[in-house]
């Protein structure tokens, strides 16, 4: 195309093409240099280091000594006795399973609430739609610690939730805090906007005539939902699932504040290992395990979404 431009002076718009390169030449390299430097220093290098530390030896006075051993990973499953014998301990496996279970349940509950609400918003008149989307987004920008704190009040002793249940005959002075249910309540609440927005975005793009066609072919509302609406919103659901599941896997504040320290998740376990200088290689090993989970989820969901896109 640029050949023609050079030979043919009557095509000024095409001839102007090279000037585009003129203004912006080398911009890609120089413009991206600062981000590569920052992300390299504050992100990529630290990830490589933490991978290395997960294979290091625990230091005598906290910290670690470089080396290669699997003690950090072994500790996830086994407890090492005084004489070096290995004894299976389920406590960290319980934490890993709890993490997967709570993050999965959170994603599912968010999805169950998000789909009908997103569908409702998408079918509103334009002006109202803008306002409702804004109302969904807004809580996300409030500090997470404060949104969790609100649930500590609601579920805690003398809080609105126990009070409400007292009206229905529950005994007084109840508290719903410090268990997995409380952690789950806070997680669903804090990650909800991240699910509604992408699901809404893909429902909004839905072609209304397809729904009408489904009805013309005698599909009732339920069949239409299952066979038309949900498959067509799969990309939005996949995006929402990633946006909720990934941070939910790494949740720290919810289990720490709502679970009360004993009902730990992987995130709070990692924090604990680095908090009092306890066991860095073990903490790093848990962090790497978490990173592997996240990578698997990203690949799985991305691949399934891609498959759906091809098949529908």
């Amino acid at each position: 195309m640029s050949d023609i431009a050079h030979h043919d002076p009557v095509l000024p718009s095409v001839a102007a093409e090279p000037s585009r390169g003129g203004i912006w030449r080398n911009l890609a390299v120089w413009g991206l240099l600062p981000s590569w430097l920052l992300m390299g220093f504050a992100l990529l290098v630290p990830i490589i280091i933490i991978a290395a530390v997960s294979f290091a030896t625990r230091g005598a006075y906290g910290g670690f000594d470089w080396g290669f051993n699997l003690a950090g990973y072994r500790q996830i499953l086994f407890n090492e006795g005084w004489t070096g014998e290995l004894e299976f301990t389920p406590q960290y496996m319980v934490i890993i399973l709890r993490t997967l279970l709570l993050a999965g349940t959170t994603t599912l509950l968010c999805l169950l609430m998000a789909v009908p609400v997103a569908y409702y918003i998408a079918n509103q008149p334009r002006h109202l739609k803008t306002i409702l989307v804004y109302l969904v987004t807004l809580p996300f920008w409030i500090s997470m610690i404060l949104r969790i704190y609100a649930w500590m009040i609601i579920l805690g002793r003398h809080g609105p939730m126990p009070r409400l249940l007292e009206l229905f005959g529950a005994p007084g002075g109840l508290s719903f805090m410090y268990n997995d249910g409380a952690t789950l309540a806070a997680m669903v609440y804090t990650y909800m906007p991240l699910m509604v927005l992408p699901v809404f975005a893909s429902i909004e793009k839905l072609d209304g005539t397809l729904i009408e066609a489904a009805h013309d072919l005698y599909g009732n509302r339920w069949i239409t939902l299952r066979r038309v609406i949900l498959p067509l919103t799969a990309p939005g659901i996949a995006a929402g699932a990633i946006l909720v599941f990934v941070p939910a896997l790494g949740a720290v504040l919810e289990p720490t504040l709502m679970g009360g320290g004993k009902q730990m998740m992987m995130g709070s376990l990692i924090q604990l290992q680095f908090g009092g200088g306890r066991n860095w290689p073990f903490g790093a090993a848990i962090a790497m395990t978490l990173l592997i989970f996240v990578t698997i989820v990203l690949i799985l969901i991305a691949r399934r979404a891609a498959m759906r896109e091809v098949t529908t």
């Binding site: 413009g31 991206l32 987004t137 404060l146 805690g156 009408e212 720290v252």
Partner: protein, 267 residues
């Protein structure tokens, strides 16, 4: 739309959505209401009072934490927005597609990885290179995870923008710097502004990284609030929370308004 036989209508969705919005905002309202409770015990209402606001505003530790948070957030926002702007220009205007794709993933990486992993990873790095300055540690880490939040609105704005204005200016012999200053910058200003606001909010709200990196003199606001929560719910804490919730709501509203006005300009 209100036609009962409309096939796109599902019965009960309106009521369900109303419940959803109550669910979204009621917990915040609870904090606000209890912040005006005169009683020391959060759940037991005695009478309306604003005394906890007075005591919150006189709390020196709170003000110190606020100052630390503001210094970190403002500095990190400036760094993150500058880097994001330069990255967005390069990614939208650059030529090498593969390099641009990889770079975009790298810029957005903080959004894909669990924050706790990044937090402990930076902690290890800083302890290895012996970086002692608490403020500097916070600023570097915050700049990194704020960058994608500044990047996305700027990128969205740039993507919808025609190259014609910049080309016209450069055809009229404006230098590259002049083109950028007089044409590009004013056009992307809404994206730049909302990106900066969002980066600022994310930095102000951060707990996980700040808690990991903070030391004696550099307690940020969320880290301080965490220590208050650990000590138990209190009406003063409710007053602090209410003020912060209000501040976040106002800033986020401004940022979102500017961003949506920017989008409308494109249409």
């Amino acid at each position: 739309m209100s036609d009962r036989n409309d096939v796109k209508r599902y019965p009960g969705l309106g009521a369900l959505s109303l419940l959803f919005f109550v669910y979204l905002y009621a917990p915040l309202a609870v904090v606000v209401v209890y912040s005006f409770n005169e009683n020391r015990i959060t759940g037991v209402w005695t009478q309306f009072s604003t005394k906890w606001y007075a005591s919150a505003l006189q709390n020196d530790a709170l003000m110190d934490a606020l100052k630390t948070s503001l210094i970190v957030a403002v500095t990190a926002t400036v760094i993150a927005t500058t880097i994001a702007l330069s990255a967005a220009l390069a990614i939208i205007r650059g030529r090498d597609l593969r390099f641009r794709r990889v770079s975009e993933t790298v810029v957005n990486l903080p959004l894909l990885l669990p924050e706790i992993v990044l937090a402990v990873a930076t902690l290890i790095l800083f302890s290895l290179i012996g970086l002692q300055n608490g403020m500097l540690k916070l600023i570097i880490a915050h700049s990194a995870f704020c960058t994608p939040f500044a990047f996305l609105p700027i990128r969205a704005r740039l993507q919808g923008m025609s190259l014609d204005f910049e080309e016209a200016a450069s055809d009229l012999y404006a230098s590259r710097l002049t083109v950028f200053r007089r044409v590009t910058l004013p056009l992307i200003l809404p994206g730049l502004f909302s990106g900066a606001m969002l980066a600022f909010l994310i930095s102000m709200d951060d707990f996980i990284t700040s808690n990991m990196l903070s030391s004696g003199g550099t307690t940020t606001l969320p880290v301080y609030i965490f220590s208050l929560i650990r000590a138990g719910t209190s009406p003063e804490l409710n007053a602090i929370a209410t003020m912060l919730i209000l501040a976040s709501l106002i800033l986020a509203t401004i940022a979102l308004l500017v961003a949506s006005r920017g989008e409308r300009d494109h249409e």
